[in-house]
Symmetry: C2
């Protein structure tokens, strides 16, 4: 596509929370700047509490989902066990969308392990202090000092890869909206009832029950001044690591796109409370399924934390998909994850027309069905 | 600098073994293509045989050198123990040159661990099958099947990051010229007496004694047809992993610069014997200290394997350095390592004048001396 058609596809299919597209213009991807995608993974045992997460066939399976997601994303098939992650209803992981767009649009992708329950069997970046999080209702999510170490290690990573690049950061960690809620609330931002869920029925009360139990056990009375101490108690290894990568990448001249849903607001909350200067260099990119979701409120979250950070949402639906599993996305299943919205955003910004994006996704789904019933 | 001055600096300070600069032109770094540097590390216990390697204060220290090198490279100081790797004579690691050029010229760098004796305390890419190599004189360097697994994992890494990029691959593994010699000889290329050394006195006979003992113990009678079986017996985890990364990066549209000395010829030998089509997409970049070294013969090695692969050598000397440690480089110490020649090459191609390159190196050396006696 030529420059004008690319712009027209962007305006038609990417919405902007601030009404401005100037951040996208500044990216200049495919011309002066290069883009790299990092998918950060971790586990929190919070996801094994029944009802919290449907990102796995059973609550215990959710601990394996991050590793399986990235094995499939990078290698084209899961390696640890021969199963593509699905919901209990059989709806496939958003890694499917991410992989199809990564491959067809040549979007370089690296996996960062900040604390996966199992080590993924693909090459991946390890943070030395990686560790799976305990359930946050213990008030003792991470060994003391861990989140500060993860932040500083992740910052070094961001710094050594940022250099004028556009760094997209996605995630896979079941239970992440619950821990994100805890982080935001602990840091003094109202998140109760505002975080998203991978299912159409968002278990807000269950999540809040877990968060408030964690606060009681940890003796937390928000707002907590010490960001890292709050995360060690009621957070997780993932969000603080993403914040560290973002800080490092920005500090070495890069721009950062947080590719995810309401979880990414906890990253923003961490950066805000740490006083990182990310002005004009940070945005969130997600799907419209997430942005327009009535059971959560990503715009409200960003407004509480820093409304100047733009949220871009890609307006793609699967109504014309020949596959039932994908059409369920339009009903509110999955919504976001493994950088899905970010890969869509990046593809549009790279000049791929909407129809080409959908074609890639449908063709990968077709390949998967042949490979194995998903 | 403008385009013409850049070209003139390139012609003046980069030599080409084939007399052609067309590979450099095709890189188009800083314009249409982006560059990323991977430093691959591993250990082989071959380096602990007295006399084999001076890349550490004592033979046993050489096992720690790769991790310390990359900790210093990425974080600016060693973390596992508070010592910059030096030779027994106190000459500092080439990581000093690499770091100064990485930082001043914003060359994104990632570390790949294919089998370091200790895990570096910085974020790094782990290959799942990573393992330090046994001494090759046992004829049993790696558990059977390891080198094939490393190659395939590394290939996935190269593929997911290559995508039209220029991928530089450097290394840190003491003992590497000895294992490289074993790999080349096992695959049927004459390497005896041709590999380099980090000291001015190259212990060719000692190295050949180790290699031939390994061949006897493993029952190897060159040329061995099965590349991976040869590497499992008398190779190491490093070179096969670099070959895998190169294959993957080329297969996804990237170009590869092997940033190192005679060791990189064993990578070329592996690719050649595996039948990888790398024509026009692969080059070696090294220093003139290495290329012009009279105790080794990188040009002879490349001629035996595939003379169409260009070797570029940067003509930089430290005769005007205020620091004795650096002037020793001109006497034949160190010569290459941790991608040093590649960082010099990349900086020149990015348009940095020779004087700017030297200024960065001297200033980093000055910082190090203040930080600690190196």
């Amino acid at each position: 596509m030529d420059g004008l058609s690319i712009l027209s596809e962007i305006y038609r299919h990417i919405g902007s929370s601030t009404g401005s597209y100037s951040f996208i213009d500044s990216l200049d991807i495919g011309r002066s700047r290069d883009l790299i995608f990092l998918i950060t993974i971790a586990s929190t045992k919070t996801s094994t509490i029944p009802g919290v997460s449907i990102a796995g066939k059973t609550p215990k399976d959710t601990l394996y989902t991050p590793a399986l997601d990235v094995e499939y994303l990078v290698a084209g098939k899961p390696l640890t066990i021969d199963t593509i992650p699905i919901t209990p209803d059989g709806i496939p992981t958003p890694a499917l969308v991410s992989r199809s767009l990564m491959v067809s649009n040549k979007i370089s992708t690296l996996v960062v392990d900040s604390g996966s329950f199992i080590e993924p069997k693909i090459p991946h970046i390890d943070l030395p202090s990686r560790i799976p999080g305990e359930s946050i209702d213990t008030g003792n999510a991470l060994p003391e000092g861990t989140s500060r170490k993860l932040y500083s290690e992740a910052r070094v990573l961001g710094e050594s890869i940022g250099y004028d690049r556009v760094v997209f950061i996605g995630e896979s960690m079941p239970g992440g909206t619950t821990t994100a809620m805890a982080i935001m609330e602990a840091l003094g931002f109202r998140a109760r009832g505002r975080v998203s869920s991978a299912g159409p029925n968002n278990p807000h009360d269950l999540k809040w029950g877990i968060v408030s139990k964690g606060f009681r056990c940890a003796g937390i009375d928000p707002p907590v001044d010490d960001v890292f101490s709050a995360i060690d108690r009621v957070g997780d290894p993932l969000h603080v690591s993403i914040a560290g990568i973002a800080d490092g990448a920005i500090s070495s001249g890069g721009r950062v796109v947080l590719a995810g849903g309401t979880q990414m607001c906890s990253v923003l909350a961490i950066l805000r409370r740490l006083g990182v200067d990310y002005r004009g260099r940070l945005a969130i990119a997600t799907t419209y399924w997430l942005y327009g979701d009535r059971s959560s409120d990503i715009q409200g979250l960003v407004n509480s934390i820093d409304s100047s950070v733009p949220i871009y949402y890609t307006m793609i639906d699967f109504s014309d998909s020949p596959f039932d599993g994908l059409r369920r996305y339009d009903e509110g299943y999955v919504k976001e994850g493994v950088g899905m919205g970010g890969y869509m955003f990046a593809s549009l910004v790279l000049g791929v027309p909407l129809e080409g994006i959908k074609r890639s996704i449908y063709s990968e789904y077709g390949r998967l069905i042949k490979y194995r019933k998903v």
